[in-house]
Symmetry: C2
Subunit: 167 residues, 2 copies
């Protein structure tokens, strides 16, 4: 703590350059990889990344999930999911029906076509990811996982603090 001549607390600008550089590097990595995956998905399967991501969520749950669940898991807005699902239903990849127990809720699932196409894409997608991370040793991967988990926790705490929400 630094006190000025009138004995009042004064904030000195601290240096947070390292954190800023870390954030920019994190963002660069993600943007780079995301762009690569996006362009491969487009040229190999003529599918967009958001559509692939949504189908990936649905592939994990045979009985389907609600739009809200999708929204939370994908960390995008509700309205966004509404539009995405509409296009996936239109193209026959996703099935949507109103919940029997709660008529506000829409339950969506992959159709047979949707699941088949997703599995085909996912297989290749996984090899792309492996190729992209190919320079990392297994130890690097473990260490990155650990540090990113810590980062995620830290970021979540900060986000809670700013919105005043409970965990």
């Amino acid at each position: 703590m630094i006190l000025d001549s009138e004995t009042k607390a004064v904030e000195l600008p601290e240096d947070h350059g390292d954190e800023l550089r870390l954030w920019l590097r994190l963002l660069t990595c993600t943007t780079l990889i995301e762009g690569e995956v996006r362009s491969r998905l487009r040229e190999r399967f003529d599918v967009t990344l958001p559509r692939f991501d949504l189908m990936a969520q649905l592939d994990k749950v045979p009985d389907g999930m609600t739009l809200s669940d999708v929204s939370k898991r994908m960390m995008v807005s509700n309205g966004n999911v509404t539009g995405l699902v509409e296009r996936l239903v239109e193209s026959g990849h996703v099935d949507r029906r109103t919940s029997e127990t709660d008529r506000r809720v829409q339950v969506i699932r992959l159709t047979k076509l949707g699941r088949a196409e997703f599995r085909r894409m996912a297989e290749e997608h996984e090899t792309w990811i492996a190729e992209i991370f190919t320079d990392l040793t297994p130890k690097d991967v473990r260490e990155l996982m650990r540090l990113l988990a810590k980062t995620k926790g830290s970021a979540q705490k900060a986000a809670q603090k700013s919105t005043g929400k409970a965990p």
Copy 2:
């Protein structure tokens, strides 16, 4: 290498689950932080993240830069930058003029207003980032920087390979 009964090379599906999980975690971290920064920029300064990012690029170069430079640095498409710049010129934050030596080139710079506003925002932005990464020790930060640098290099190699471009 695995050979089947007719002595033909066969591809067995290798396990790349670790890399896939790493990628998803990386994406989660970035999305989380990006969302937090986006919402704070909006509520504190009523500015969008892309506008802030573009201004950040321009703040680093007093003499301005071309649209192509911005496009490469931000890793977004040319058309995207055209639109962003148009709105920033409209709002008086950015100045744009045609290069004297090459009339294809547009050089853009921050206006006085743009620079003042950006500096004001950047100062606070830096503290947000520090807060978001607050749980990481200096050693964690260094280690993450190192591993992300390695990741970036690996991803760039993979991207080159797929597009057949020179570094």
